[in-house]
């Protein structure tokens, strides 16, 4: 059991965990405002990566292409909210979940038709070989992933807690009717949360595409992992999902390294399961308070 291996597993775990945290962030934003688990979140991630690829292919300078991709995917989030979530009105949360599942299938299928079934790669943000660190190696892109995740977490945290929009979002989340009384339109807030989640999702898709490529069906797996990260984090707080993502990433990586790569997902889930059950009393109390 060499030290460099442990370091390598941790580095990988943190990189992968950051990715899960970005995806989970979108779940958290939408859930905390609307109470909806948005199963189309993984598709926003996919759209980010694929759109960026197409825009770069059009010959746009890379930074412009990436930003434009985020804007376009944000628009998709807005359109999705207006056409699928808003017409459902005050349907039960399970109904809304099915709508987002339908939306996810639809978006994925359209993407499969438009971009084809093949995976595509984005160029890394900075070139150069991996950096050596205690015998382990870190890719420059991993540092980008971790860095952008941290920045995104801070920005979203500040947005939710320090700005008027954020306070309105929170108010709508806590009590829809009371918020309406002071002039906060819950439907508008739902729209804003989808836009924000689509934007963070798109950023996630863009930062990971140089590492693990983008393809029309990447949203299934990432959405699932992101949801687990978000649920671990309690589905409400920005830092919770960050920790949830890192926990999941590290659990997977260490399980693959020390136990078995075939069972790594199962081991990670059992670990998370245990955490859920140990914390169940507190979680249930939190859930009731939120209801």
């Amino acid at each position: 059991m060499a030290t460099w291996q442990l370091v390598q597993y941790v580095v990988t775990g943190i990189t992968v965990g950051s990715i899960y945290a970005i995806v989970g962030l979108g779940f958290t934003i939408i859930y905390s405002v609307t109470g909806i688990i948005n199963f189309a979140q993984g598709e926003f991630v996919m759209l980010g990566g694929m759109t960026a690829f197409s825009l770069i292919g059009l010959g746009l300078p890379i930074p412009v292409a990436l930003m434009l991709a985020v804007v376009l995917v944000t628009l998709v989030g807005v359109v999705f909210n207006l056409t699928a979530i808003r017409p459902a009105g005050r349907a039960s949360s399970i109904t809304l979940i099915i709508i987002t599942i339908g939306g996810a299938l639809f978006i994925r299928a359209v993407a499969g038709l438009y971009w084809g079934r093949d995976a595509v790669a984005l160029p890394p943000f900075s070139s150069g070989a991996s950096l050596s660190f205690l015998g382990a190696y870190i890719r420059p892109q991993s540092l980008w992933v971790i860095g952008i995740t941290l920045v995104l977490m801070v920005v979203v945290y500040l947005l939710l807690n320090r700005t008027l929009v954020g306070k309105a979002l929170k108010a709508a989340a806590i009590n829809r009717r009371a918020a309406a009384l002071v002039g906060i339109d819950a439907r508008m807030m739902s729209l804003v949360s989808f836009a924000l989640a689509a934007a963070t999702g798109a950023i996630g898709g863009i930062v990971i595409a140089p590492i693990s490529y983008a393809s029309y069906d990447m949203g299934v797996m990432l959405g699932l992992k992101g949801f687990v990260a978000a649920a671990m984090g309690g589905l409400t707080g920005v830092w919770g999902v960050f920790l949830g993502g890192l926990g999941l990433g590290l659990a997977e990586s260490l399980a693959a390294g020390y136990i078995s790569s075939s069972y790594k997902d199962a081991i990670a889930l059992i670990f998370l399961f245990a955490v859920l059950l140990i914390r169940s009393r507190r979680l249930v109390a939190g859930e009731e308070a939120a209801a």
Binding site: A2, W4, Q5, Q8, Y9, V11, T12, G13, T15, V16, I19, A109, G112, G116, R117, D118, A119, V120, A121, S130, A136, Y137, R139, I208, I211, S212, Y213, S215, D217, M218, V220, M221, L222, E252, S253, A256, G257, S261, S262, D265
Partner: protein, 390 residues
């Protein structure tokens, strides 16, 4: 209470009209069915297969069909799901009344329909790798396949490695059906080739990062790494090996035999060696290679329609299946016999074809009919497929 009435009514409506939508009509064309994994895990295989079949259908009909009668290809997407493939196959047999079926794209999905086609007595030409599909041949009377089997491919890999004086290998295989079948074969015959497996790791093709598994392998210090998977996961592995500064030879499977792998892995693809059908290195084949003309023609046709550099061996398997079946129909027509399922099956069993995947010599004991020399070793050099020197 009304609900129940409605369910009954709705069911009457939905199910009641189903039989009437099925109108057989006179058989004015030769119908061939196909069940392909166009979406889902196998989409990298199903897509070129579908494109190839559509191309061939158009070509044969433009040339006047088979003795003036058109060929119609009916393709259903299996979504790489055995339940969907199962009902789609029933549909091809019972409703579309096809003469023969091509598919499915992967071994697991094919297994789900073996009983169905056998019971219905419809010839099936599978596009999947596993030997199990056509063995034991007595039970697989109606089943044929066109891709080279896993045992041939694995033998080719081990043969190459032992020539290089390598005996300690690490395996990293995909957790999907393709990887699982490869792993089985790799482990089964390792000892007969004098190979020692020092590490046996697996990866999920959808995983974002495989450095952990590779770090485990690196710790075991193998002489070579064998990776068994399709494009996306395999490209991540090639890339991650460079990241971890792992210099040992990387040998992969025929699952990466298409352009996408090189596009994805970029620099990291260079130096990767894998066994594949001759299609990838058509131009480099000696002129006396009996397959060369067929390969050149298919490559030109496919790339004319679907873009330069897009041809791959999976589409080639579909070419072989289509040609085997239409040749069988042609010879039945030529001999003045009735064109039916049993007739096609008998012709398939004695088929000889210079195809894309190799030279087929089918027999009642061999429903594939390929020999191991249909595979060549390909090395990726400067982003191009190169026939490896042996």
């Amino acid at each position: 209470m009304k609900k129940v009435v409605f369910i009954a009514l709705a069911l009457i409506l939905v199910i009641g009209i189903m039989p009437f939508t099925a109108c057989g009509g006179a058989e004015e064309e030769y119908k061939i069915g196909a069940v392909l994994g166009i979406t889902g895990f196998n989409s990298a295989l199903g897509e070129p297969e579908k494109q190839t079949l559509e191309m061939l259908e158009e070509a044969i009909n433009d040339a006047g069909g088979i003795n003036g009668k058109n060929v119609k290809i009916i393709i259903y997407d299996t979504e790489t799901d055995s339940t969907t493939c199962f009902t789609a196959t029933k549909r091809l047999i019972e409703q579309d009344n096809v003469l023969a079926i091509i598919g499915a794209s992967s071994s697991g999905v094919t297994m789900a329909i073996l009983d169905t086609v056998t019971d219905a007595e419809v010839p099936l030409v599978s596009l999947a790798a596993s030997d199990q599909i056509i063995k034991p041949v007595e039970e697989r009377y109606w089943i044929f396949k066109t891709p080279q089997t896993n045992s041939m491919v694995v033998a080719r890999v081990y043969d190459y490695l032992s020539d290089q004086g390598i005996s300690e290998v690490a395996l990293i295989t995909a957790s999907d059906g393709f990887g699982a079948l490869g792993l089985e074969e790799l482990k089964d015959v390792a000892s007969t080739w004098g190979m020692t497996i020092v590490a046996d790791e697996s990866f999920d093709p959808d995983d974002t990062d495989m450095t952990t598994q590779l770090a485990v392998i690196k710790g075991k210090n193998p002489e070579a790494v064998i990776c068994w998977g399709t494009n996306k996961g395999s490209a991540v592995i090639a890339d991650n090996m460079k990241d971890l500064a792992m210099e040992m030879p990387l040998v992969m499977s025929h699952g990466i035999a298409n352009r996408d792998f090189i596009d994805l892995a970029g620099e990291a693809a260079n130096g990767v060696i894998f066994p594949a059908g001759k299609l990838l290195v058509t131009e480099q084949l000696p002129d006396d290679d009996p397959q060369k003309d067929v390969l050149l023609a298919y490559k030109a046709d496919f790339e004319y329609l679907y873009g330069e550099g897009n041809v791959d061996t999976f589409g080639g398997h579909a070419w072989d299946a289509f040609t085997l079946i239409t040749d069988a129909i042609q010879s039945l027509v030529d001999e003045g016999k009735e064109v039916d399922r049993a007739g096609i099956r008998d012709k398939l069993e004695s088929a000889e074809l210079v195809g894309i995947s190799g030279i087929f010599n089918m027999s009642s004991t061999d429903h594939l009919g390929l020999t191991p020399d249909c595979l060549v070793l390909v090395e990726i050099v400067d982003g191009e497929w190169t026939l490896a020197e042996e």
